[in-house]
C-alpha cells in the first residue's frame, strides 16, 4: 500500500503545482489591484490555446512564447477594462470580470470551435520514471520542476528587485507608493500582465494533460480560488503551501473515496477557515478590512 500512496503523493504534488501557478497569479492581482479576477481561468485557457497555435505554426520551441502573449493580452485588458474598476465597488469588478470570462470563452469557441483540440506532450518528454515504488512521467516531472523554478524566481524577483519592492509596498499602501513619485498605473498594468502570464504558464503546461477546450477554464478557476482562500488572500507562501496540500489531498482521496475527489478541497477549505479565518498564512491587510 505504501508504494501506491507514494505514487499518489507524487501525482498530487504535480497537480498541486499547477494549482499553485494558477492561484499565485490570482493572488498577486488581488493583493495589489484589489480585483477578484473571475476571468483568471480564461487566461489559463488562453495559455493552452496560444501554446497549441504556436506549436501548430512554429513548432515546439515557440510554445514558450504562449505565456508572454497571455501577459500582453492581460496588460491590454488592464489598460482598457480593469483600470475602470479600481474605484468601484468590489461587486462591480466581480460582475465585469465574470462577463470577461464568458466573452473570452465565447471568442475561443468562435475561433477554434467547441470541439477539444488534440495536443499531447512533446516526444522528447514522453516516457515514465520508476523510482522504487514511485511512478512519475517525464512530462509531469518537468511540469513540477518548472513550477518550482518559476516560484523560486518569482519569490526572488519580489524580494530582491526594485520592482518587486514596489509591488510589495504597493499592495499594502498604494497611496504612499504614489506619493513617493512612482507611477502606479504602469505598475498595476505590469502586475495584471504578470498574473495573467503566470496563468498562461499553467495553461501551457496543462495543455498536453488536460483537454484543450474552451470550457477548460472552469476546471482551473475554482481550485485557484480555493487555494488562494486556504493560503490566505495575497499570501505568496500561503498559496504555495495550500496548492500543494490541495493536490495531495485530492490524490489521496481518489485512492480511498474517488467520488469525493472534487469535493474534498472545499471540505478542507471549510476546515481551515474554521480554525484560521484569514487562511493558513493570511495576515490583516488594512485596505481590505
Amino acid at each position: 500500500m505504501l508504494d501506491v500512496l507514494l505514487s499518489q503523493v507524487a501525482a498530487g504534488l504535480v497537480l498541486g503545482g499547477l494549482y499553485v501557478l494558477i492561484a499565485i497569479g490570482l493572488s498577486i492581482i488581488f493583493g495589489l489591484l484589489g480585483i477578484v479576477n473571475f476571468a483568471h481561468g480564461n487566461f489559463f485557457a488562453l495559455g493552452a490555446y496560444f501554446a497549441l497555435t504556436l506549436y501548430q505554426y512554429l513548432g515546439w520551441p515557440a510554445v514558450l512564447l504562449a505565456p508572454v502573449l497571455v501577459g500582453v493580452v492581460g496588460m491590454a485588458v488592464e489598460r482598457t477594462l480593469i483600470r475602470q474598476l479600481y474605484d468601484k465597488e468590489p461587486l462591480v469588478s466581480l460582475i465585469v470580470t465574470f462577463a470577461l470570462a464568458l466573452m473570452i470563452e465565447a471568442l475561443l469557441r468562435l475561433i477554434y470551435g467547441g470541439i477539444g483540440q488534440p495536443f499531447n506532450q512533446p516526444p522528447f518528454l514522453s516516457g515514465i520514471y520508476l523510482w522504487g515504488p514511485v511512478l512519475i512521467t517525464k512530462y509531469r516531472l518537468t511540469v513540477f520542476l518548472t513550477t518550482i523554478a518559476l516560484l523560486i524566481g518569482l519569490w526572488a524577483f519580489m524580494q530582491f528587485t526594485p520592482f518587486g519592492r514596489i509591488l510589495r509596498a504597493g499592495s499594502r499602501d498604494p497611496e504612499m507608493v504614489g506619493l513617493l513619485g512612482i507611477r502606479l498605473p504602469r505598475v498595476l498594468t505590469a502586475v495584471f500582465g504578470l498574473g495573467c502570464a503566470l496563468a498562461g504558464v499553467a495553461g501551457m503546461l496543462a495543455a498536453p494533460l488536460w483537454t484543450v477546450i474552451p470550457s477548460m477554464s472552469e476546471n482551473a478557476i475554482m481550485p485557484a480560488f480555493v487555494v488562494v482562500v486556504i493560503g490566505g488572500l495575497g499570501s505568496f507562501a500561503g498559496a504555495v503551501i495550500a496548492g500543494l496540500l490541495v493536490g495531495v489531498i485530492t490524490a489521496l482521496t481518489i485512492q480511498f473515496q474517488p467520488d469525493a475527489a472534487n469535493a474534498v478541497m472545499y471540505v478542507f477549505m471549510a476546515a481551515v477557515l474554521l480554525v484560521r479565518p484569514r487562511g493558513l498564512l493570511g495576515e490583516r491587510w488594512e485596505r481590505f478590512e
Partner: protein, 415 residues
C-alpha cells in the same frame, strides 16, 4: 429642369408625416411581429452552449440546422425557424423549455444533450404537453420507467447498448475495472455492465465513481495499473473521456489494457489526438461507413461542404432527430401536438434492409448500433475508426434486443 428648389429641402408637411411615422413605428411593431409569427413555424432547440458537452452540442446543432436548410427552411410550405436556448443545468433546462413553449411559442422541441438534463426535460415536456425529441441523452430510464407520451428518444438506452456490446468485451477477459462518472449516465453504465459481467461469472476488480469534469486522472490510472484488470469499462462522458485517454497515453498505459465504452462521440476521440487515441466503442453512426444509405451520404457531403470537416456522429444524431420531426409535421399537415406525435410514431428512416423508427410503445428509436475500434495507426486527422461490427447482427432482432416496453418499465398513457 431647375425648379428652383434644392433636392435636399424636404417640405414641412412631409417632414412632419415622416417624423410621425417613425414615432408610430414601435406601436405597429407588435402587430407586424404577430403577423410574421403566425406564418413561421418555430421549433425549439435545447442544447448546452457552454461546458465540456458543448463539443458535442456544436455538432448536434449543426446537424439540426442542416436538416432544416435541406428543406429550404420550410415545413408545410411555411417558413420555419429554430429557436436555440441553453441547457445550463437540469433545472435551468426546464426553465428554458418553459420559455420556449410559453414565450417563443414553439410547436416541438429538440435537444437533451446530457442524461441529467434529458430526464428533467422529458418531465417538463409532459407537463407542458409539447413533443420533445431527445437527440443525445442515453439514460435507460428515459424510455423505461420515466417514458411519457410526449418524449421520443433517439440514443440507444445504456442497458441495451451494454447487452449488445458485451459479447465483444468478453473476449478481453472477465476481470473488469469500472471508471464511470458519478451522474445518471455513468451510474447507468456501471449498473448495466456489472449485471452482465457478474452473470457471466466475471469479477469487478475496481470500481471508481468519478466526479464530472475531473481535470486529472493520474491518480485513477495509478489505481488501475495496480489492479491489473483485463480491460477497463469506461463511463466518462465527452471531454472527460478525452482527458482520461490523453493521460492514459501520457502515463504509458496505451496498448497495455483495452479501454472500452459505450455511447461516445467522435469528437471525444478526435480531441485526444492521433498518438493517444485508443479503445473499442459503440456508436450510432460513422461518416465513413460504406454502408450508409444515400441520404446519409448526401448529408455527410453537405456537412463537409458547409463546415469544412466531416460530420461527427452527433451531427447525424442532430440531423436525423430533426429530419424525423420535420417530416412528421409535414406528413401530419399540422402543428398540433397530437398530430405531430402520431406523425413521429409512423415515421420510418434508413433503408428497407436497415430501417430505423420510433417504437410506439415507448417512443424509443430502434436502430442498429456500430461497434468501432480506433485504428492501430491513424493517418488522417478525422478517420480514427474501423467499423468492427453492427449490432444486432440481424435486423429482425431489433425488437428483441431493445426489450418489451412494458417489461422495461414503460407504461405510457395517451395523455
Amino acid at each position: 429642369m431647375n425648379t428652383g428648389k434644392s433636392s435636399l429641402v424636404v417640405p414641412r408637411r412631409q417632414a412632419l408625416l415622416g417624423a410621425a411615422a417613425i414615432a408610430a413605428a414601435p406601436l405597429a411593431r407588435p402587430f407586424i411581429g404577430y403577423a410574421a409569427a403566425a406564418e413561421t413555424i418555430k421549433i425549439g432547440l435545447l442544447l448546452a452552449k457552454t461546458g465540456d458537452i458543448a463539443a458535442q452540442t456544436e455538432y448536434l446543432a449543426n446537424g439540426t440546422y442542416l436538416a432544416l436548410e435541406e428543406r429550404g427552411n420550410k415545413i408545410m410550405g411555411q417558413p420555419a425557424e429554430l429557436v436555440w436556448l441553453d441547457e445550463p443545468s437540469p433545472q435551468g433546462s426546464q426553465q428554458n423549455m418553459q420559455k420556449l413553449v410559453q414565450e417563443n411559442k414553439v410547436v416541438a422541441i429538440l435537444g437533451g444533450s446530457l442524461s441529467s438534463n434529458g430526464l428533467a426535460e422529458q418531465a417538463t415536456a409532459a407537463q407542458l404537453k409539447i413533443p420533445f425529441v431527445c437527440n443525445n441523452a442515453a439514460a435507460t430510464d428515459m424510455s423505461g420507467k420515466n417514458c411519457n407520451h410526449y418524449t421520443f428518444r433517439l440514443n440507444t438506452p445504456v442497458a441495451v447498448q451494454a447487452a449488445m456490446f458485451a459479447p465483444y468485451l468478453m473476449g478481453y477477459g472477465k476481470k473488469w475495472y469500472f471508471i464511470t462518472a458519478n451522474y445518471a449516465f455513468g451510474q447507468d453504465i456501471a449498473k448495466s455492465f456489472k449485471e452482465i459481467l457478474i452473470k457471466a461469472g466475471g469479477t469487478v476488480v475496481g470500481d471508481d465513481s468519478v466526479p464530472l469534469n475531473t481535470p486529472d486522472y493520474s491518480s485513477f490510472i495509478l489505481k488501475i495499473r495496480q489492479a491489473k484488470p483485463d480491460m477497463i469499462l469506461g463511463g466518462v462522458p465527452a471531454g472527460d473521456l478525452s482527458t482520461f485517454l490523453k493521460q492514459w497515453n501520457e502515463i504509458g498505459m496505451k496498448g497495455t489494457i483495452p479501454v472500452c465504452e459505450i455511447a461516445i462521440g467522435d469528437t471525444d476521440i478526435w480531441a485526444v489526438g492521433q498518438e493517444a487515441a485508443t479503445g473499442l466503442y459503440t456508436s450510432l453512426w460513422w461518416y465513413d461507413n460504406p454502408n450508409n444509405p444515400p441520404d446519409e451520404k448526401a448529408m455527410a457531403a453537405d456537412y463537409q461542404k458547409k463546415y469544412g470537416k466531416p460530420a461527427a456522429d452527433k451531427a447525424w444524431m442532430g440531423w436525423i432527430a430533426a429530419k424525423s420531426l420535420f417530416e412528421s409535421i409535414e406528413q401530419a399537415k399540422s402543428t398540433e401536438t397530437e398530430a405531430i406525435i402520431k406523425g413521429l410514431e409512423s415515421w420510418k428512416g434508413g433503408t428497407a434492409a436497415n430501417p430505423y423508427y420510433w417504437r410506439k410503445g415507448d417512443h424509443q428509436m430502434l436502430l442498429r448500433n456500430l461497434v468501432v475500434q480506433v485504428k492501430p495507426k491513424i493517418t488522417d486527422k478525422w478517420d480514427y475508426f474501423d467499423v468492427k461490427g453492427v449490432v444486432p447482427q440481424n435486423v429482425a432482432d431489433l425488437e428483441k434486443v431493445f426489450g418489451d416496453p412494458v417489461a422495461n418499465g414503460c407504461h405510457m398513457t395517451a395523455t
